[in-house]
């Protein structure tokens, strides 16, 4: 913004030839504030500016090489901003600024080094908040670790909101699933998988009606259980019986005796 103004003032074409010399303009910068909310806003704005700069360069690039260069040189790393935000909000636990800062981190930089730390502090500091339910659902895409699992377990027990109890329970189940998939020891893997199934069945029974996106936790948890019990490598695939694109009914098992690729697809 500042450089644009400076350019305009410096440009001789911008001023009529007979005009008096332009008056010196005092440049007023935003007063430096030590209010945490202002500091947070500054960090978020600086990320947004860097991101916008990247997007303009990316759009302006005429070929893949240009786009790759823009990505490599200009795409800001949200992890760096997340680290700054985390350092700031750590000083103000339980405040509105902390809530806002944690949300930025888990939303934009959940997979950065600050992601899990922010999630854990958020659960601890805002246990009673109803909005925490949708926040913890982000953990279903990872990372998977025992600290997060433990925090989700605590939240499922101590939140006063039924929706948060349900969402935290579902997220806990997904942590067990992720941990089981990553485990190398067979006994540990099986143990975690059993916990995963137990939690998902409990979600169906106790929290099934809680909404989850456009669906419910029951549908999501049932889907997880179905995959675990029917769609693992080595299992005989469950049959599908439905109409084809011309309305003719057929079954997957009609193709028994052949190697079959099942391809879930769509034209989009």
């Amino acid at each position: 913004m500042l450089s644009c103004t400076a350019l305009l003032l410096a440009c001789p074409l911008a001023a009529p030839p007979d005009s008096a010399p332009a008056p010196r303009i005092a440049i007023v910068t935003t007063a430096v504030s030590d209010e945490p909310a202002d500091i947070l806003e500054d960090i978020v704005d600086s990320y947004q500016e860097a991101y916008n700069e990247f997007v303009s360069a990316y759009r302006a690039a005429s070929d893949d090489a240009g786009r790759n260069a823009a990505r490599a040189e200009l795409m800001p790393d949200p992890g760096i901003y997340a680290e700054k935000i985390l350092a700031l909000v750590k000083e103000h636990p339980g405040s509105d600024v902390a809530w806002e800062g944690f949300n930025w981190i888990v939303g934009r930089a959940g997979n950065s080094a600050s992601g899990p730390a922010a999630m854990l502090m958020m659960i601890e500091q805002f246990t009673d908040k109803e909005e925490l339910g949708d926040v913890v659902l982000r953990t279903t895409r990872g990372p998977f670790n025992r600290d997060i699992a433990k925090a989700l377990g605590n939240l499922a027990e101590s939140s006063p909101h039924a929706s948060v109890q349900g969402k935290a329970s579902f997220a806990l189940g997904m942590q067990y699933k992720g941990l089981s998939e990553a485990a190398t020891d067979k006994k540990e893997k099986d143990g975690l998988n059993k916990r995963f199934l137990r939690v998902m069945k409990m979600v169906c029974e106790k929290h099934g009606d809680v909404s989850y996106g456009r669906s419910t936790l029951r549908s999501a948890a049932e889907g997880e259980v179905f995959v675990a019990e029917n769609l693992q490598i080595g299992m005989v695939a469950p049959d599908i019986a439905a109409a084809d694109l011309d309305g003719v009914e057929f079954k997957l098992t009609d193709y028994r005796g052949k190697v079959v690729v099942i391809d879930f697809w769509g034209n989009w």
Binding site: V227, Q232, V236, A237
Partner: protein
Amino acid sequence: MFPHERSLVKRLSDQPFALIGVNSDRDLEALRPVLVEEQITWRSFWNGPEGTSGPISTRWNVHGWPTIYVLDHEGKIRFKNVRGEAMDKAVDSLLEEMNG
């Protein structure tokens, strides 16, 4: 995606192999010209008017498209989410196992 599947289906046309789609387009009429243009000759189940929220993909807990399962001739799931060359290799290995 389509070109790869097309070439796989063509290459294995004389083998005990089938590619079965589960299509999640909401509007079948809009899809018909695409089937012709893209030479999509393989058979697909239709996931119904609810599109990606239809009954088959819901039951199979599919949240990403495309999702791939590879079954052997006994109907057992042997590979999941193999794409491109990996899908070809998976299918070839199962055909070899079956014929050999």
